[in-house]
């Protein structure tokens, strides 16, 4: 039992607390501490990734209570992958903030670490109620992050976001209680076993619990028709926070994969694929409405928020296909879209500050001061989110299109993904030409981004693009992750083989 598994939870917790205590030490020290801790966190995450890549599911029993009675942390390939994606994303967002954009106040860095505490906990836990608790931790941090900077627009978006998520939490609790009531366990793997052997009279209750959980995860993931909160919230948040929130919708997708892959995967009780009739229409409607939003948006940040919804729709298509090949492509696309959307949000923040009163409205305004550099970055990011070769978006979309299992699926999936790409390219080329070419007047003279800010955005893009250039190493890992996810028996094996630490051990 390696103690490293709990490090991604403890490290942000203690860093967050330290930064809260040290609020008076000055912003410079806070930045150094924050970035050093995040670099360390990425190192730990990469170590855990190499551990998980060996193919074993490792368990960490809190309080040395063996599963399924105690709460366990569970490290598999999927959890390790999500940890690395989140760690890298948080490092770049904090680095962007540390380059002089973490004001006003000094609460941004501690909140980023508390958000990471919740995120990492949600990725690692193997217990359904614990998942709820970590959801609440990350939500509370995200409420405060969304409101960071103040102002009426954030207060309004924040109120909607908080009330919606509180209603979602109530539904989550009802679902967890229902599932506990019929199965008598909270451990996700154990719950899967018991649901498979469920008394037929109790199956409708478990079914209800499962669908209620899907509503909750759908709300987090911004699946249609539960996405209306997202554009307002993301467009109102400050730059680094909006970029960091790119992972928040992916937490919903992750939970869907985790809970329905482990707890509701049994063929015996008729639960395998009981979500499919809901997933297909919801995925396609999310894609369609997201693209309409991208085309109709009048501000760049809103447009990127709708791009996040489009990526959620694309990911859901992968979930709906529910084969090893589609899961593998979906995981690849998840990593790509998280990093690219974050990079786009950071770029939008820089551009907004150079356009004076026009901010990020998609109308002709004063030319950008660093038009060439920003233009190149924007072009690369747009090409990637649209899915042009040789970027990572291309590899992800091709993977999803190749994963179709039947001609009928192909008839739905191919036009949906290709048309989405076409319409997105139309909208983004209009935005790009308005911002960079159809300019009028003189540059405003303020908001010039330092070299380190551009380097941070470029770095995030390099990470994302390298997914396609290092494809020969990334794709086999994604395949192995999908393979592991489709094999709940491996998780049960890990639970039966688990040995608690002997009492007299040092």
């Amino acid at each position: 039992m390696s103690h490293w598994i709990i490090a991604p939870i403890l490290l942000p917790l203690f860093t967050g607390l330290l930064l809260l205590i040290g609020a008076g030490w000055g912003r410079r020290i806070a930045r150094v501490v924050s970035l050093a801790s995040l670099a360390l966190l990425v190192g730990v995450d990469v170590h855990l990734l190499t551990v998980a890549a060996a193919g074993e599911v490792s368990l960490y029993a809190l309080g040395n209570w063996p599963p399924p009675f105690g709460i366990v942390l569970q490290l598999d390939r999927l959890a390790a992958l999500m940890l690395v994606v989140t760690g890298v994303l948080a490092f770049f967002c904090a680095a962007y903030a540390a380059a002089g954009r973490d004001g006003p106040g000094d609460s941004l860095h501690p909140l980023i670490h508390l958000l990471l505490l919740g995120l990492n906990g949600a990725f690692l836990t193997g217990d359904l109620f614990n998942l709820f608790v970590f959801f609440e931790v990350l939500l509370l941090a995200s409420y405060a992050l969304l409101l960071h900077g103040g102002g009426p627009r954030r207060a309004k978006a924040g109120l909607h976001y908080v009330v919606l998520n509180l209603a979602g939490s109530a539904l989550f609790l009802i679902a967890v209680a229902l599932l506990y009531g019929v199965t008598g366990t909270l451990n996700i793997v154990d719950m899967g076993e018991r649901i498979a052997a469920l008394d037929p009279a109790d199956r409708p209750l478990a079914h209800t619990g499962g669908l209620l959980l899907f509503v909750v995860f759908g709300l987090k993931a911004a699946v249609a028709p539960l996405y209306f909160w997202l554009p307002g919230a993301y467009a109102a948040a400050v730059g680094p926070v909006a970029a960091l929130f790119a992972i928040m919708t992916k937490v919903g997708i992750y939970s869907i994969l985790r809970v329905y892959g482990l707890a509701f995967a049994s063929d015996g009780a008729g639960f395998a694929g009981f979500l499919s009739p809901w997933l297909w229409p919801l995925a396609l409607v999310t894609l369609a409405l997201g693209v309409v939003g991208v085309l109709a948006a009048r501000e760049l940040r809103q447009q990127i928020a709708y791009l996040v919804i489009v990526s959620v729709g694309t990911l859901l298509v992968g979930v709906a296909m529910n084969t090893v090949a589609s899961l593998s492509a979906l995981l690849y696309y998840l990593v790509h879209s998280t990093w690219i959307c974050a990079a786009l949000f950071l770029m939008a923040d820089v551009m907004r500050q150079q356009r004076g009163e026009m901010t990020d409205k998609i109308k002709s305004g004063p030319p950008l001061q660093q038009g060439t550099g920003l233009g190149i970055l924007f072009f690369i990011a747009s090409a990637s989110i649209v899915g042009m070769p040789p970027t990572s978006g291309f590899v992800g979309k091709v993977g999803l299109m190749q994963a179709v299992a039947s001609p009928l699926e192909a008839i739905w999936v191919w036009p949906a993904l290709l048309l989405t790409g076409l319409l997105t390219i139309t909208a983004l080329s209009r935005t790009g030409s308005t911002f960079f070419w159809r300019t009028e007047g003189e540059p405003t003279g303020d908001g010039r981004a330092s070299a380190s800010v551009l380097a941070v955005i470029g770095g995030l893009l390099v990470f994302s693009i390298s997914l396609s250039f290092a494809g020969n190493r990334v794709l086999p890992f994604m395949d192995a992750t999908a393979q592991q996810l489709s094999d709940p028996a491996a998780y049960r094996r890990a639970a039966t083989l688990f040995q608690p630490v002997p009492e007299d051990a040092p």
């Binding site: 109620f129 608790v133 009426p152 207060a155 924040g158 908080v162 009330v163 939490s169 609790l173 209680a177």
Partner: protein, 129 residues
């Protein structure tokens, strides 16, 4: 006893949902609170209802499931913190937006004003602005 508890949960949930759909922040917060009470009771009931039966092994012939009680405690604490947060947020939104409408634009009082104006004009009394 089951029917009574189920009815209580149902009434609280429906009141909570009704209040959450109101247009002012204060009823919405009350609705969230009621909903979380209903949810807490629901979690508790999921450990099955028994009476005069402490959740201690060996104190009687049977003992009720202690886990939902622990879960309910966690849910109460989290719900309490969230209610406090959303109250402060609602006050902040009231200060920032100038009214307590959930959308920030107080359309209801604007409509009321326009209607009053309309009435006033019809009666020929006019209204000095």
């Amino acid at each position: 006893m089951e029917a009574l508890v189920a009815a209580v949960i149902a009434v609280m949930t429906s009141c909570g949902v009704y209040l959450m759909l109101r247009a002012r922040t204060f009823p919405v917060i009350l609705g969230i609170t009621l909903l979380s009470y209903a949810v807490n009771l629901f979690i508790f009931v999921m450990g099955r209802l028994t009476s005069a039966n402490p959740a201690v092994i060996g104190s009687g012939a049977t003992y009720p499931d202690p886990l939902p009680q622990a879960l309910v405690l966690t849910a109460i604490v989290i719900g309490f913190a969230m209610t406090a947060f959303v109250l402060v947020l609602a006050l902040r939104a009231r200060a920032e937006l100038g009214n307590d409408h959930v959308d920030g634009n107080d359309q209801m009082s604007i409509n009321k004003y326009l209607n009053d104006d309309h009435h006033a004009n019809k009666k020929g009394e006019g209204r000095s602005l």
